[in-house]
Structure formats: structure tokens, C-alpha cells
Amino acid sequence: MTTNKKKGKSGRKKSRQDESMRVGVLENIGTGTRRKAKADPVAKIVERCQAGDPVAFRELFDRHVAGVHRHLSLLIGPSADVDDLVQLVFLNVYQSIGRFRGQSAFSTWLFRITINVARQEIRVRGRHRRLSTALTEVSMVRGTSVRQTPENRLATWEQVYDVLDQLTMKKRETFILYTYEGYSLEEIARLLGSSVSTIGSRLQSARKEILAILGEEGAKG
């Protein structure tokens, strides 16, 4: 068996290298000033969009749809509704782009809209699932005679999210952004409007909880 450290690190490195999958220009996250934003090519497209240019909106959509889709998929987990949520995000963008003042990078602004849509979705849907259905599902899975090793317990994306669903929203967001999206703690702190130390401890706490959940399920499985 290779060490888990190697696996975890390489996974994260791979995720970090996957820059093209991120939303927009990440180097400007949260630090973009008005002057910086104007130098950014996206800023010009935003200005055209604010002026009502439909082609500009299409350009914004094309540039960012993949990132928004990826963010939403990771934040809410496997779901057939992701396309609907992507649509909702861009509707919100179109509706409120007139109020975007360029004080932060467009990608940051878009990210916040995305995360707000994801939070709403998780609140409405995830809460019920977490509180009632998840328990039933877990007990059904536990009821099988096969011992639940990580190989069969976490074999699918859904099963991974069954574990992540048991974290609180903030811990879940932090864990996903750091581990799957490859953001640094500083970037997450800026995106979520928190301090680096808070994000660090939230991440540590999320991992601790995951370990505890796996331990509990392993003991019962």
C-alpha cells in the first residue's frame, strides 16, 4: 500500500494544477481594486454587459459556465439539478450586473453569487436529507452483511457526499474549496469573508470530523 500521505498530496496537487477548471482569473480574488479590474479583459466585457450588450453577456457566460458548473457540482454534490442552478446563477448575474461596481474581481463576485445559490439549495434540500433520509440510508447500508471497507463504502461520488453532508455548511464549503478546488487558505478566507486562522481551524475540524464519521461507520459496519 502506498502511504495515504502520498495519495492525499498528489490528489490535491492534481487538483491545484487544474487551473483551467477554476472560475475566471483567480489571482485577483478578493484583491481586485477598481483600477485592477479595469485592466482586466473581463472588466471590459462586464462594462459592455452593464451597457446592455447581449453579446457581452454571452461572452461572460461562455467564459464562466464551466467554472460555475464545477463549483456547484462540488458544493452541492451529485445532483441532476446542477444545470438549473447554473441557470439561476447566470440569471442573478444578469439581473444584478448593473450593481457590480468592480470593487472586487468579477470572478469573486460571481463566486459569491454561486456560493449563495449553492447555500440556498443545500439549506432547502440538504437539511431534510441530512436529518432524516441520510440516517435511514446509512442504517440500510449498515444493515448489509458486507463489511464496509473504504473501498466499497466510498466507491461512488454519492457515498463521498453522504459523509460530507454530515459536516456543517461552513466546514463542508471550506473542505471542498481547499481539497477539491485547490484554493489556498488565504483565497478561501477572502472568498468567504473570514480570517485565515478561522479557515485553517475549520479545515482541520472538518478533517477531524470526517475521520470520526469514518471511524464510527467503520466500527458499526
Binding site: 447566470f90 436529518l131 469514518l214
Partner: protein, 662 residues
């Protein structure tokens, strides 16, 4: 049932969480352990699988992207048309032009008089000079649902009990929250609202398209879902806050104005009189009517957490139960989380939960709530903590001494001799020869009984304490308390045992038992306040900082002007800083302590903490002022080196300084 892990497994699990920080030896050890231990290996494998995300979701295909865009276009077109031809707005801002304004107002009044405007949809609050009201639709009723209610809260003239927690949110719904109370509730699926401490709140408009709240005084936090299609406005005496989907707080501060902060999203603040509209982004705070911007402080974050706190634990679908009983202000913990103090109405998650009720001096009550249904009340009466058990064994009961004239038993002191010994001991105490007095008293109490034994033992205990023989002093006081239970003398003796154990012996367990017995005793006593304070101090000294913070909060609620209140504020200020990083509240407490006790030995610490708190909140100028004051008053104080380094860090940004809590 959880199995106790071996030390290697515990270490391995700790190491798994900080793999990046392990050195080569640590990694080697972990690898070796994972090879040997199947259970830890499975956990490590599971964590790695989750961290890798197993199989990340496939990127969106071009076809899906096109489909989304195609579905988007009609809606975008509709929005574009709306933007090009906006519908009649809810509000129209007009420049303040007195001549035109008066004419317009007169015309409006005439129009209202003739047309008989509906009072339900256009309330007087809405007719500020800067904001004119358009038609807002017919009044409607929304569903309100209470999540948590602590203390005395009056809803539409009725004190909130448990019930099903449902109420109607309509035009005129009013909520009054007492000084130490708080209420968290939802309005349909559109908003979650928390009103905290001495607040008057009401609904002035409730239609399908708009909810307007009025905050006459106090503090509130709101999380509002702007996607529901309804607009939300909050009116304060000097501003109108327009919200379109956000988390924000509003505080009406006497003599200052309205403080609005935005935690998420954006709001627009319209001053009531002249002045321009302020747009507030996430992370910003503004004080109206002046329009001064500032950073959000921990006070606002704590207030916002009132609506956010429910996220983590309390469920949307749980049942609402009421905790009430005696004594008042009992701390309620459910599944290890402090929900507040009684009387408390709280929404609990589905399924069985464990609760624990605690109050100083009372026996804690624990149990499980499984069958309770919506609206049930959990009535309780905490019993006083068990009677105080002295930690020393009493001497066996002496035989009754004979009457005068009969010879005393061998080895015992006769009453005449005892009387003489007492007189000589008193004289020795007066002369200051305490050890000699103690020797005389030791002989005098041999075989003594009743009042004389109690007096002798008390004097002896005082002598021991004066001589530094604290353990013997505490034991003697213990014996006194046990000899005359249920009396004021016993109460005072317990207090002495507690103080000696806490201050001199470091025996916190014995101190806690004695203080608890003192506080719990129905006799009360002049030192009850001090005993309560000491119990809080014990929590702080033992490192139970959160308990200590809660205890000092409760203490200050019970004795806000008490003798120990300044010291309690010092402790609470320090705990606010160290535990909750609530710098603004900490500063208030610390300054209050300094003002009350400027020459107290810990005033030095308080001054340094004030500077530290200001530095942490970015108020460098204020921090510098506080540091100058500290260094002037305590040039060689125990924090002077730290103060100088902090000062240097403020003046020289390149100077490296690691802030610490003290």
C-alpha cells in the same frame, strides 16, 4: 458503543490530520503503524479517498452549456425588457426642494383626502420627505415560526410560551424583547430574524411583494432570501434599509443613530432626512444619519450569528419545547451545546436529544428528551447541591463531663481549667502571640462541647490561618461547620474553608464544594455574591473558560452593581478576548474595570489588554494611545516589554511581532 483506542492508534489518528507537518521520522512511524493496524489503515484510506474526491464530476459538456444558455435566453430577454422599461418603482427618491416638496406634499394630502387612500398599505412611517410610497399590493399574512426564545418576549401583547411556535406575520405584528431576552424566528421561507435585548420590533407592511419591518429601538439580525421575489425593508427612526437578499444586522444606538452592517450580500440605506443613499457591500458597516463607514466588529458578527447559529444544529423540522422551572436562569445545554438560560423556548432536532440543566449551587439535572412533542414544556426544579460534606473526620463524641466537684475524666481538661485557658488565649491573641494562643486553645477545646467548643475551634482556626497553617485552619473551620449545621456560623465557616482552599491550598475541588454549599444554602448570607463570584473565578482558573464566561455573564446579570462586579467585568473582558475574540465588548468591560478600580493590581493587565484589543481591531491610533497610557502608568510593569514591542510594531510596520492574548 465506542471502544477505547490504544495510544498508537490515537497518535496515528492525530498524525493523519497533520500529515503535512510530519517529519521523516513521523511519516515513517505512521506508515509502519498503518501497515500493522487494519482499522487505522482503513480510516486513512477513507480519508484519502474523500480528499481525492474519488471521481471528480465531469466538466460540463458543450451541449449542456448550450442547453442552459438556450433556456436562459427567454428569461434574460424578459429581464432586459423590464430593465429598459422599468415598472413603477416601490420608492422614488426626490431631491429635497422645499418649495416643490411642500407643494407636492399638499397635493398628495389633497389626493389622499379625495381618493381615500388605503391606510393598510401606506403607513405614516413610509411618508418621509425623501421617500414617497407607491402602491405595494394588498395586505397579506405570512407564517412566522419561532426557533428559539430566551427570557421574556412579548408577541402581540402575549408573553411567548412554547405552543407550536407558529404565529401570523401581518401588518401590525409587534414583538417586544426584554433586556436580557432574545428571539429567533422565521418568516415563511423568506427570512430568518433574530431580535436581541431591549428591542421593539413590528411589521408595518406585509404584502405579497414587500415586507417592511420597523425597528424602533434595539438590535436585530436578518438573513433574507432575495430570490423569493419579495422585497424587504427595515425602517429605523432615522433610516430606511432596503434589502434584496443578504445577511445583515441593524442596531438603533441611542444618541448615535442607526448602525447597519452587511455580512453577506448588499443593502441600500436611505436616510430619512436630507443626505444621499448609501450602498453597503459585504463586510461594511455604516452609521446613519452621518453615513460614517467602518469595519464590521465582533459585536455585529455575534449578532448575525443569532440567525446563523441555527444552521449548525437546530433543525427546520424539529419540535419546539419550553424549559422553565426553578431556580430562574438555569443554563440549558442540549447535546453539549448551550442553548441559553431559562425561561427558554427552543426548537430541538428530531429524535432523542440529551439535555443538561445547571445552575450554581444546584445539583445538575440530566436526561434525554425523546417523546416530547411540539409545544411540550419541560418543567423542572433543581435540587440544592448535596449538603456539604466536611473533608475532615470529626472527633468522636466526647463523654459528658461531670458536674463541678466531680473529678474530670483522665486526660481531659476540667471546666475551670478550660475557662482559664480561654482567658489566657484571648490575652495572648490581644498581645499578638498567636502561636502561644493556638497552643492554649488546642488544650482548651479538648473535651469541650457546645458553644464553647464552637467558639474555641473558630478562634483556633483563625490562629492557624494567621500562622500560615492553612490546611489545619481549613480543617478547623470544617469542624465548626459540621458542629452547627444550618446556622450562620456554619455558612461563614464554609466560606472560610472555600477561600482558604482556593487562595492558599490550591485545592479547587474542595473550594468548589464549599462555595457551592454556601450558594445553595437556603440561609443565604452576606457573602453569597462573593461566593458566586468565586465559583466563576474557579471556572476561569481551572481553564473552563467558556463555563467561566457564561458564569460571569450570569453573575453580572444578577449583581450588575455588586461589590465584585468590577472584578467580574475584568474577568469577562479578558475571557471575551481570549475565548471569543469579541474585542469591542472586552474593551467596554476592561475600561469599566479601570474606571472603577484604577489602582487595582490587575488594572495594569486591563490597560495592556485594552491596547491589545484595539490593535486587533485595526484601531492603531487608539492602541497607541492606550499603550502610551500604560507605559506612563506602569513604566516597569509586567507587561511593559510586550507593550513596548506592540508599540514598535504599530509604529514600524516592518517590525515582526506575534500578538498574544496577554
Amino acid at each position: 458503543m465506542s471502544r477505547r483506542l490504544g495510544p498508537d492508534c490515537r497518535r496515528a489518528r492525530r498524525d493523519l490530520l497533520r500529515q503535512d507537518a510530519l517529519d521523516a521520522v513521523g511519516r515513517g512511524w505512521l506508515e509502519l503503524h498503518l501497515r500493522r493496524c487494519d482499522e487505522c489503515s482503513a480510516l486513512a484510506e477513507g480519508l484519502a479517498r474523500i480528499e481525492q474526491g474519488h471521481e471528480l464530476p465531469p466538466p460540463i459538456s458543450e451541449e449542456s452549456s448550450l442547453q442552459i444558455y438556450d433556456r436562459l435566453i427567454p428569461a434574460v430577454h424578459e429581464i432586459a425588457v423590464d430593465l429598459a422599461h422599468p415598472p413603477r418603482p416601490w420608492y422614488t427618491r426626490r431631491p429635497v426642494q422645499w418649495g416643490f416638496g411642500l407643494a407636492a406634499a399638499a397635493a398628495l394630502l389633497v389626493a389622499f383626502a379625495f381618493l381615500g387612500a388605503e391606510p393598510e398599505t401606506t403607513l405614516p412611517e413610509s411618508r418621509s420627505p425623501a421617500v414617497a410610497v407607491a402602491d405595494r399590493g394588498a395586505p397579506t399574512t405570512h407564517h412566522g415560526l419561532i426557533d428559539r426564545c430566551e427570557g421574556v418576549v412579548v408577541l402581540d401583547g402575549t408573553k411567548i410560551g412554547a405552543g407550536d411556535g407558529k404565529f401570523e406575520v401581518r401588518q401590525g405584528t409587534a414583538i417586544d424583547v426584554d433586556e436580557n431576552a432574545r428571539l429567533a424566528f422565521r418568516i415563511g421561507d423568506a427570512a430568518r430574524v433574530a431580535v436581541v435585548g431591549d428591542t421593539t420590533w413590528r411589521i408595518s407592511v406585509a404584502t405579497d411583494t414587500l415586507i417592511e419591518m420597523v425597528l424602533e429601538k434595539g438590535r436585530l439580525a436578518v438573513e433574507y432570501d432575495g430570490t423569493s421575489g419579495r422585497a424587504l425593508d427595515v425602517r429605523t427612526p432615522d433610516s430606511l434599509v432596503r434589502v434584496r437578499g443578504t445577511v445583515f444586522t441593524i442596531e438603533v444606538v441611542p444618541d448615535e443613530g442607526t448602525r447597519v452592517s452587511v455580512l453577506e450580500g448588499k443593502v441600500e440605506v436611505v436616510p430619512r432626512g436630507a443626505g444621499s443613499v448609501v450602498e453597503l457591500d459585504e463586510g461594511e458597516l455604516v452609521t446613519m444619519p452621518g453615513g460614517e463607514y467602518g469595519p464590521i466588529e465582533d459585536t455585529q458578527r455575534a449578532l448575525a450569528a443569532e440567525v446563523d447559529a441555527l444552521d449548525d444544529y437546530l433543525a427546520y423540522v424539529g419540535r419546539l419545547v419550553r424549559f422553565d422551572g426553578s431556580p430562574e436562569r438555569v443554563k440549558v445545554e442540549v447535546d453539549g451545546r448551550v442553548l441559553g438560560s431559562t425561561p427558554l423556548v427552543a426548537r430541538l432536532p428530531e429524535g432523542p436529544v440529551n439535555y443538561r440543566l445547571t445552575a450554581p449551587g444546584m445539583e445538575p439535572l440530566e436526561g434525554t428528551l425523546a417523546d416530547e412533542r411540539e409545544g411540550d414544556a419541560i418543567a423542572f426544579a433543581l435540587a440544592p447541591a448535596p449538603d456539604y460534606q466536611p473533608s475532615v473526620a470529626l472527633a468522636p463524641q466526647e463523654p459528658q463531663l461531670g458536674r463541678a466537684g466531680k473529678p474530670a475524666a483522665a486526660g481531659k481538661t476540667s471546666p475551670g481549667v478550660r475557662w482559664d485557658l480561654f482567658q489566657r488565649a484571648r490575652a495572648a491573641i490581644t498581645a499578638g502571640d498567636i502561636p502561644y494562643a493556638a497552643g492554649l486553645l488546642e488544650r482548651a477545646i479538648e473535651g469541650a462541647e457546645g458553644e464553647r467548643l464552637v467558639t474555641g475551634l473558630s478562634m483556633l482556626a483563625e490562629c492557624y490561618a494567621a500562622m500560615g497553617r492553612y490546611r489545619e485552619a481549613a480543617n478547623a473551620f470544617d469542624r465548626v461547620a459540621a458542629l452547627v449545621p444550618g446556622t450562620e456560623i456554619a455558612q461563614n465557616s464554609r466560606y472560610e474553608v472555600a477561600r482558604l482552599s482556593m487562595d492558599r491550598l490550591g485545592d479547587f475541588g474542595r473550594a468548589r464544594a464549599a462555595f457551592t454549599a454556601y450558594v445553595a444554602s437556603p440561609l443565604g448570607g452576606a457573602l453569597k455574591q462573593e461566593a458566586y463570584y468565586s465559583l466563576c473565578e474557579l471556572d476561569a482558573r481551572e481553564g473552563a473558560h467558556r463555563d467561566a464566561l457564561h458564569c460571569f455573564n450570569e453573575f453580572l446579570r444578577s449583581y450588575p452593581g455588586g461589590r465584585s462586579a468590577p472584578n467580574a467585568r475584568l474577568w469577562r473582558g479578558a475571557l471575551f478576548q481570549d475565548v471569543e475574540r469579541r474585542w469591542a465588548e472586552a474593551e467596554r468591560d476592561l475600561l469599566s474595570f479601570i474606571q472603577a478600580k484604577p489602582r487595582h493590581p490587575r488594572a495594569e493587565e486591563a490597560r495592556y489588554r485594552v491596547a491589545l484589543g484595539r490593535y486587533q481591531t485595526g484601531d492603531r491610533r487608539g492602541a497607541l494611545r492606550a499603550l502610551e497610557e500604560y507605559l506612563r502608568k506602569h513604566p516597569n510593569g509586567q507587561y511593559s516589554v510586550r507593550a513596548q514591542r506592540l508599540r514598535q510594531a504599530i509604529l514600524d510596520p516592518d517590525f515582526s511581532w506575534e500578538p498574544d492574548s496577554k
